[in-house]
Symmetry: C2
């Protein structure tokens, strides 16, 4: 598994490989940041807990992605990182990354670029969550490729009850807007 620049080149020396199993935490909300991460294999869910105990999925990291980069500049991790499938993870030492970035503008700019990309992703997600109609929201989320794990995860990620999502998916299939490719597998029907 390769990560895009600068994670494969300039930061290679800061990397340490860790393996974690289903249910383990890479870090917890509130922990002091010690590293930023790249996921080689498995699945890691980034989640926050509201005061009322409600769980919110911030992001669902898939192989090839990096996560928690923003903690480079913060005093604590702002979410939990929960391993959902046994995962291979690369940890890039926070302090070393900062030092390298401070000496190397290319690295710093590359980091900026990653941040910028993440910002666009979050904006898109905010836009998604603002869609009132469950029907439209599910369809838009499908189009955005957010259904990568199971339906319940998908539901939590887009802020709908899973029963609602099952129902909406059935309706969308019936309307011919979505094709059911198997148990829990749905794909947008290409418009012609």
């Amino acid at each position: 598994m390769k990560f895009s620049s600068p994670f494969d080149s300039a930061l290679a020396g800061t990397a340490r490989k860790i393996s974690l199993h289903d249910g383990e935490m890479v870090f917890r909300q509130g922990d002091t940041p010690f590293a930023i991460f790249g996921l080689i294999a498995g699945r890691v869910e980034l989640q926050r807990h509201t005061q009322s105990g409600h769980r919110v999925i911030i992001h669902n990291a898939k192989p090839g992605e990096t996560f928690a980069e923003a903690s480079l500049f913060s005093e604590s991790y702002h979410c939990d990182a929960l391993v959902l499938e046994s995962s291979e993870i690369i940890a890039f030492d926070r302090q070393l990354v900062l030092e390298i970035a401070a000496r190397n503008p290319d690295v710093a700019l590359a980091l900026s670029q990653r941040f910028a990309a993440q910002i666009q992703t979050y904006r898109r997600k905010i836009e998604l969550l603002a869609i009132d109609s469950a029907q439209e929201r599910v369809f838009a989320a499908l189009a955005d490729g957010l259904l990568t794990a199971d339906i319940k995860t998908f539901s939590a990620e887009i802020g709908l009850a899973h029963e609602t999502v099952y129902r909406v998916l059935a309706t969308l299939v019936q309307q011919g807007l979505v094709r059911k490719k198997g148990r829990g597998l749905y794909a947008i029907e290409i418009m012609s």
Copy 2:
């Protein structure tokens, strides 16, 4: 009005001042990015339009803030920037900023830091939008200091109908959780 580093020092040479009136656009979704911006005075709303025509407020820029930094690395602006009160805006030339950042790691890192801060803000917003109960959502949004303009803007920003927000605010006041400080002015009642 000062912006934090690096906007007051290293990037000063890239700046150009523009004045826009209520209703004018700084840029539109889809435009090719030519600058990133700092708001000196006034108010600028960053909004996106969904395919179904629904308007989503991504952010509400207030004096002292910068906006559209993420467009440094993108091919187009991803939202509209609508001026809501006659505003004084500094435009930092995109190409010049990129060139300076490429030579100066401090500038690049400072940009990263801004991005990281924005990411935290968006995460918090996603968490906010995931709160189902209008009551809790309004309260959390108040606590986050999102009620800076009028109630209708506030309502749109947190994804609720303004009637709902007026009602919830009245209830919160009645419950003693929120104090009404005037027409359209509410403050969290400090817990003792």
